[in-house]
Symmetry: C2
Subunit: 183 residues, 2 copies
């Protein structure tokens, strides 16, 4: 069966700093009509940064949508037409002060494809060198260094609850256990 | 430092079937003002369903925001005040026909806390029994059974690109390799 939903009409709802919102009227595979609410996002990058002692560099920041301080891997929204890797290097440096000798692309994924097109590009950064933090005007973050295994335990204790961070930490744990995780 | 951002004003933008959108004017930790765009979502459940041969049950469906058919673990939005476990059981049955003898709560997480409050509750389901599929009116999905290890490889080949599915498959792979993943 062709599962494609053709757009019959698009209604623009909102154009903000970070997101745009639209409602599409679509033709379903059986010919019926329905509507789909879509949050447009420019995409983002996130960085699993590991130091020589296998600590993962994370940041604590207040997240207004969930009204909580979350512990997350460094991340940021891409600027228009920005290269994801350059954006990842910039965000790691700005949020934590670190630059890295080695960069490896882990994967790209959609955070919540039921209602948003946000695509996240996830990188591994090693060979870290400390430097100056340089935050955006409206950005307030604290850097924390956590042993990787402790970060992994925090996922299942409900203390790390951010999707991109969970994917990145699980990846880094799997990378350590070559026996079972190699293809 | 107290990282909390106090809300000075809330402007409602949109109230749809799946999401609501608002813009909050906030007071930053340094006393300056800024705005935060927030997509409100009722929350969702997702199910890692493994059969006796260690196949994971997944569904293929068209996702309008990304204009693609994605391969995902069964999932669905919660109804108001619905219990997440009951919702998970319902969604697994409706989308795939399966019911399960054993249910285990893996974790809850935020899909994209930079702009939405969507919380996802992730379950492991085993002891599967086949039954009737019963989709929503505007829902068109195909069920696929994949060996768990093949699903895991598909993540890094860019063929499974859905966040909740990546977290669930990584968890199921880690669960198999007790040596390295046990706390």
């Amino acid at each position: 069966m062709d599962l494609t939903e053709k757009t019959l009409e698009t209604r623009e709802i909102f154009s903000g700093r970070i997101i745009k919102v639209r409602v599409d009227t679509v033709c379903l595979p059986d010919g019926q009509e329905s509507t789909r609410e879509v949050v447009e996002h420019a995409g983002a990058v996130a960085v699993v940064a590991l130091d020589g002692d296998n600590n993962i560099i994370m940041v604590r920041q207040y997240r207004k949508p969930v009204e909580m301080v979350l512990t997350e891997i460094p991340a940021g929204t891409m600027e228009k037409d920005e290269d994801p890797l350059l954006c990842a290097k910039r965000e790691l440096r700005e949020e934590t002060g670190f630059s890295a000798d080695h960069w490896y692309k882990i994967l790209s994924y959609y955070s919540a494809p039921g209602f948003t097109d946000e695509c996240l590009h996830l990188y591994l950064a090693t060979g870290l060198t400390d430097g100056e933090i340089d935050l955006d005007e409206d950005e307030f973050v604290e850097t924390v260094h956590l042993p990787l295994k402790e970060a992994w335990r925090m996922i299942f204790a409900g203390k790390i609850v951010d999707g991109k961070s969970i994917i990145g930490i699980q990846y880094a744990m799997g990378r350590e256990s070559n026996n079972t995780f190699s293809a």
